[in-house]
Symmetry: none
Subunit: 332 residues, 2 copies
C-alpha cells in the first residue's frame, strides 16, 4: 500500500465532526500531507483547510482524494459517487477505509481502469490471519480501551508513541483501524477481519519485540458496546497488554449510535477490561486515564481531570490539553 | 441462508459412521426433512433411509442434495464430483459445510449456473448483516455457553428445542454454525462473519417473536478461549439471552487447541458470561448445566452431575444420558 501525496480530504455530507474522524486524524498526524478539503452541501464537519473542488485541487498538486468521512455501517452514500468519479476523471487516486469497497462500485472501478488511476480500499484485509494462540510474546504492550467508541483511543496511542520516543524509548504505534492505517501506511483493519481471526490478527500486527520496546496498539470499540464488543474482546486478548489506558469523553450521555444505552462508569469498564486482559497477560494493569475534555472549558476540564485522578488513583490527562507525558512517565 | 427441503443425504464413500456425522445429525434432529440417502461403492455408513439415485430422489420430491460426509481436511473427493454434477443436472440444489467450497469447483459452478440451481457452501455468509443495535426484542431466548469449544452447546440447544416442543411450547433452534445450518436449513455461519457484524448477525437470526416463544440459539466458542472469545461475546450480546445454560466436558484438562491454557472453572465462566449477557438483557440468568459425560461410566457420570447440581444450585443434566427435560421445566 503506497498512497500518493498530498491529499484532498473528502468530508462528504458528514453530519458532525465525529463522522469525519478519519480526516481529522490524518490532518492531526500528517498535516504536511493534507492540501485541502472537499465538502458537500449539508456538511457539518470542517478541518479548517482550504475548501477545494477536485479540479482546483489537481491544479494545486493534489494526488489522492482520501475519503475522510464514515457513516454508520461504513457504506458509500449514493450522493458521493459522482464526486468520487469526478475526482478520478480529474486525475486523482482514491483512498478509503470504508466497509464497502470503492472498487466494488462498477462506475468507479471502470473509471479508474479507463483513466489509469488507483483505488486503495485500506479497510479490506490484504492477507489471511492465523487463529490466535494466546502465547506470551516478548516486549511490552499498551492498549487504550474506552467507555465508548470514538472517544480518543487512537489519538492516545499516537500521542504515547510520540511521548515515549521523546523520552528515548523505542515505541511503535500499531494501527488496527482505517485511520491508523492511512496515517502509518500499515496495520490490520480489525473490524473487517473474519470473526474467528480477531485475536490472531492482533497477535500478527504486534509481534515479538525487544524487552524494552513498547507497542502502542490502537484500541477499537468498547467492551460494553453491544454493537462492537466482540472486536474489542478479541483485541484485548490478542494485544495481551502489560498496560491499559482508560479513555473517556465525560459529557457524553449514551453510547454512540445507541441512545438507549447509557455510558457505563469508568470503574465498570476498567474492571471488565482488566478481567479480560488477564486471561492472556496476568500482569495487565491500568497505567492512566485519557480524558477527552474538548467539550469543557478550562476550569471544568481541570476539575474533571482532578476528580478522575483522585477517584482512580491513576494519572488522568487530556492528550490535547495536557499531553500524555505523565502516563509515559508512569510506564517506566 | 435458507435451504430447500426435503434432502437427499449424500454419504459418498464414508469409511465409517463417524465420517457421516453431519448426515446423522440432520437425520436425528430433522427426520422429516430427510427423504433418502445416496451411497457410493465402498460406503460403510448407513442411516437406515431408503437408498436413492438422484433421478429417483427428484421424482420423489427431493429439493437439495446435502453433503453429509466429511473426509480428512474437509475437501471434496474427486470421485464425488460426477455425482454432485448429476444431482444439479437432475434439478437438485447442493448444500455442504466443507472447508473446500463446492462453488469453487468450476465444473459444479458452471453446471449450477446453466441449470439455474443453487450451491450453498454454508461456511460462508450469503448476505451482509447489519451492525447490532442492542434493542430488546420480543420473545424469549436461551443461549448455551461453554467452558471450552466443542463441549455440547449445539446438541444442548437442539435437545431443548425438542423438549420444549414436547411440552407444547413454541420453540425454534437458531443455527450459528455450519452443522446447525445444515440440520435446520437456515442460520448464520457466525465464525465467518466480518468482526463488526457479529452481534448484528445474531440479532438478525433471532428476530422479534411472540412473548411465549423460545429461541434456542446455538452457542459458539467460549468467552475465556483466547482464540475465539470475540465471536462468543458478540453472540452473547446479540442473543440477549433470558436464560443461559453452562456446558462442560468434565474430563478435559486444557482448552481445545491450547495446551498452555487450563479449563476455567464453571463458576468463573458463568460469572463472566452473566456480566456480558446483562448488558443487553438485565434479566439474564442461568437455567441449568449441560454436562457431556460420555467419557465417564454410569456411576461416575451420576456422581459428576450430582456434584455440579449441588455446587451450582441448578439442574445439571447430560443431554444424551438424562435428557434436558429438567432444564426445560426450569424455563417455565
Amino acid at each position: 500500500m503506497s498512497l500518493r501525496q498530498p491529499y484532498l480530504l473528502f468530508l462528504g455530507d458528514a453530519p458532525d465532526m465525529l463522522a469525519a474522524k478519519v480526516a481529522l486524524g490524518v490532518k492531526q498526524w500528517r498535516p504536511e500531507a493534507c492540501l485541502g478539503q472537499l465538502s458537500m452541501p449539508g456538511c457539518k464537519a470542517d478541518l479548517g483547510l482550504a475548501e477545494m473542488s477536485v479540479g482546483y485541487a489537481v491544479s494545486a498538486g493534489a494526488r489522492t482524494l482520501l475519503v475522510g468521512v464514515a457513516n454508520r455501517g461504513g457504506v458509500v452514500a449514493p450522493s458521493w459517487v459522482a464526486v468520487l468519479k469526478a475526482a478520478l476523471e480529474a486525475g486523482l487516486d482514491l483512498a478509503a477505509g470504508l466497509h464497502q469497497r470503492l472498487s466494488d462500485i462498477p462506475e468507479l472501478a471502470e473509471t479508474a481502469r479507463a483513466r489509469g488511476r488507483a483505488i486503495h480500499d485500506v479497510r479490506s484485509p490484504e492477507r489471511p490471519y492465523p487463529v490466535g494462540d494466546g502465547r506470551k510474546r516478548s516486549g511490552k504492550r499498551l492498549l487504550p480501551v474506552g467507555t465508548d467508541c470514538s472517544c480518543g483511543k487512537m489519538y492516545t496511542a499516537l500521542a504515547l508513541e510520540a511521548a515515549l520516543r521523546a523520552r528515548g524509548r523505542p515505541a511503535t504505534f500499531r494501527a488496527t483501524g482505517q485511520t491508523g492505517i492511512l496515517i502509518t501506511g500499515e496495520g490490520v483493519p480489525l473490524d473487517a477481519v473474519v470473526a474467528d481471526f480477531i485475536s490472531g490478527a492482533v497477535e500478527t500486527v504486534s509481534p515479538d519485540a525487544p524487552e524494552d520496546h513498547w507497542d502502542l496498539i490502537e484500541g477499537q470499540g468498547s467492551l460494553l458496546h453491544p454493537s462492537f464488543a466482540g472486536v474489542t474482546l478479541g483485541l484485548i486478548h490478542g494485544a495481551q497488554p502489560d498496560a491499559l489506558v482508560i479513555c473517556h469523553e465525560p459529557t457524553r450521555t449514551h453510547l454512540r449510535g445507541l441512545p438507549h444505552y447509557p455510558i457505563p462508569s469508568l470503574e465498570t469498564v476498567m474492571e471488565q477490561c482488566l478481567t479480560a486482559a488477564r486471561l492472556t497477560n496476568p500482569k495487565a494493569r491500568f497505567a492512566g486515564a485519557s480524558i477527552n475534555t474538548h467539550a469543557l472549558d478550562d476550569a471544568a476540564a481541570a476539575a474533571c481531570l482532578a476528580e478522575i485522578e483522585a477517584r482512580l488513583g491513576l494519572p488522568a490527562v487530556d492528550p490535547v490539553r495536557t499531553g500524555v507525558e505523565r502516563i509515559a512517565e508512569a510506564l517506566e
